[in-house]
Symmetry: C2
Subunit: 410 residues, 2 copies
């Protein structure tokens, strides 16, 4: 029997529907990412004929996804071009369950967080409790939602591992959730489509689209938190998943062969040598004070006499280890941009030149030439925007689909 391989979906062929869908998605995506864009700009950027762009915009207006506004004051000859903006009444509900609270937000298609409600819980919430809390909050907003908004769906940023298709939470260690079909549970309760994903992935997607990554097609992101260092790789504006969705674990790069044992089983990982707890300790803060870390640390470095010696020394040491990890990564990826979030962003903000020269002096000529560094920009809104992006994604990929999915609520 001839070995007839099981046909993987290889590359799919294009048909005319794909063309229209793709072009609609491109125009809506430009409006979504940039907030406002003129038809003339769309024409230039896409290379499409202006009659085609006219038709695409008209369809998006018909679908209720964008508005056309008066042109900006023109500063050149020629008829001014109308401005396309995403409609502010297209919204997604963002949900982020944590160990001590559930945060729920209302986010518009333009990326604005219209509402954010933090519901503190006495103990670590179960999936059912989260569903009930979200259900109650959404019920409270329902009147407003139905009268003033069109809700495309719900996005959930879960601190754990989520199966890509189906939205099952495989494991969320801090919540102690295991194999929870959370998307289905919440969708049943709210009668809205629900998309769940890992919180770090959602954060990267938000920071990439609306934060420091704006405009860079390709970058890497490292985030430092209380529990360690994670990250992600963005290529062509998409988070690179790896073969099974685990790509981006920058925390376990070797930075010190003489270093201490990491919980991963290796010695001298970045995550082991560069820790938020060490930073808190040297500043006399404890774990509960992590929100003050930024002010306290940056205040020290802003003083005329500089930081206290042992603080400066620790920051310097940690930045040197971070630079060691980054030089390897820069050599491998040749990235355009490295974004640093959490306490890694703080370290960078405290002494940017230490990191930059640390990487530049040791990376290879070619790759180091074009790399830029930036601190993550999105603060409290990060996870709300990231979760909302999950819910907007299907609409952004296929704008015409909104007609069907919103039939019941329109």
């Amino acid at each position: 029997m001839a070995s007839m391989e099981q046909s993987r979906p290889a590359q799919r062929g294009n048909n005319l529907d794909d063309v229209r869908r793709n072009n609609l998605a491109i125009v809506l995506g430009l409006a979504h990412v940039r907030g406002r864009v003129s038809r003339a700009e769309v024409t230039k950027m896409t290379g499409l004929n202006r009659s085609t762009v006219g038709g695409l915009v008209a369809e998006l207006v018909d679908l209720g996804l964008v508005d056309e506004q008066e042109p900006d004051a023109a500063n050149h000859a020629g008829r001014p071009s109308a401005i396309i903006v995403p409609r502010a009444d297209i919204v997604a509900i963002a949900v982020n369950p944590e160990v001590d609270a559930v945060t729920i937000g209302l986010v518009s298609l333009s990326g604005q967080v219209l509402k954010r409600i933090r519901y503190d819980t006495a103990r670590v919430p179960t999936p059912e409790e989260v569903v009930n809390i979200v259900g109650a909050v959404v019920a409270g907003m329902r009147g407003e939602l139905d009268s003033s908004f069109r809700t495309v769906g719900v996005g959930v940023a879960v601190p754990g591992l989520v199966r890509e298709s189906g939205g099952e939470v495989v494991v969320a260690p801090h919540l102690d959730w295991h194999n929870v079909p959370f998307s289905a549970m919440l969708s049943d309760a709210l009668d809205l489509p629900v998309v769940s994903s890992n919180d770090a992935s959602a954060a990267i997607s938000a920071e990439s689209t609306f934060g420091a990554g704006r405009g860079a097609r390709q970058h890497i992101y490292l985030n430092g938190g209380a529990s360690g260092i994670g990250g992600g790789i963005v290529i062509n504006n998409e988070l690179f998943p790896g073969v099974s969705g685990f790509a981006g674990e920058f925390g376990h790069s070797l930075v010190n062969s003489e270093g201490s044992l990491c919980h991963c089983g290796a010695y001298g990982c970045l995550e082991t040598e560069v820790r938020q707890s060490a930073l808190l300790a040297v500043l006399g803060l404890d774990a509960a004070d992590s929100e003050q870390l930024e002010n306290v640390l940056l205040a020290q470095f802003a003083r005329p006499e500089g930081a206290e010696p042992q603080v400066a020394e620790l920051v310097n040491k940690q930045l040197t280890f971070l630079a060691e990890a980054l030089r390897g990564t820069v050599n491998i990826f040749n990235p355009e941009l490295v974004i640093l979030g959490g306490f890694l962003g703080l370290l960078y903000a405290a002494a940017p030149e230490v990191l930059e020269s640390g990487v530049r002096d040791r990376a290879l000529m070619g790759p180091r030439g074009d790399v830029r560094f930036a601190r993550a920009e999105l603060g409290l809104d990060l996870l709300m925007i990231g979760a909302a992006q999950l819910a907007f994604a299907p609409v952004l990929a296929d704008p015409a689909s909104i007609t069907k999915s919103l039939l019941k609520s329109s």
Copy 2:
């Protein structure tokens, strides 16, 4: 003045020509990569209607790029489906200038090396000498080329840095070439289109498409040679270039904080700790004997009593350093496959379990789960196929373009 950003070509809109071009490219690409594919398989894999596939295949046949063959013996009910094969008379000329020779090959669209000529040079050849040598060899084949083949162009694998557009050799250190417009020079001499690129990139592209990477959409490749360790990252069957084309420098990952100074300025790089020269030395070979390395080393490990202690120890040490570099890379990329070429492939072949367990024991649970290792498969043909791929690439991307480009020679 409103900040009207310079319009990057962002995402291009799809028009109807794009659809046809893309679909033709998909069908030709399937035939090219798989060697033979039935129309029914194409229909399944692309999702296109079978009448559409019929039209696409007919156009490729008209263009002279593929033939349709008798169906294979069917083993199921239904009309047998014709087999599409790339035409063997569509060829590219492959060129690889080195310090002591110029190798020229004739490669068919199906990936077969029809001819390989190694022209030894008394000294390091200048660009002009390479053009003359290639010109003479091609002149010798010209009668055959014109009568029996259609030549799509020339691909050159250069041991140096090549500017992506224009084919200028920025610098080729071992050849001592600097800012040489080599593609233009060779194209003028041969009256054929010429595409030049870095030899390592070409090798990766070949190994990825026709070698150990066949079927893996995503993998990383590390190659060990006399002068060091290079590599590449393949994502969605394309070599990931990074922002300026330097991505893939795996040779300068930290593997030993106590290691020696690398020429890159850092200490303890993979390239410094794992060297072909050390392997040659312990086996009593000198640099000129590098071709014997494979036989001598593998023979030792094939002996019933195993390798000599100091050889086994060195191999073990080098594999441990390689595993250290790979565990970090596996954590970051979560790759499906790691391909090892050159002497790194040899080390792996000598003691595969040392590398595999070395990586698996120290990488994180998630990423290490799905990773496979493989030794590069393509031997002498590697650079010939890689260089030819450069010349085929434009035709594979836009099959209909062959009509125009081959007018003069048809």
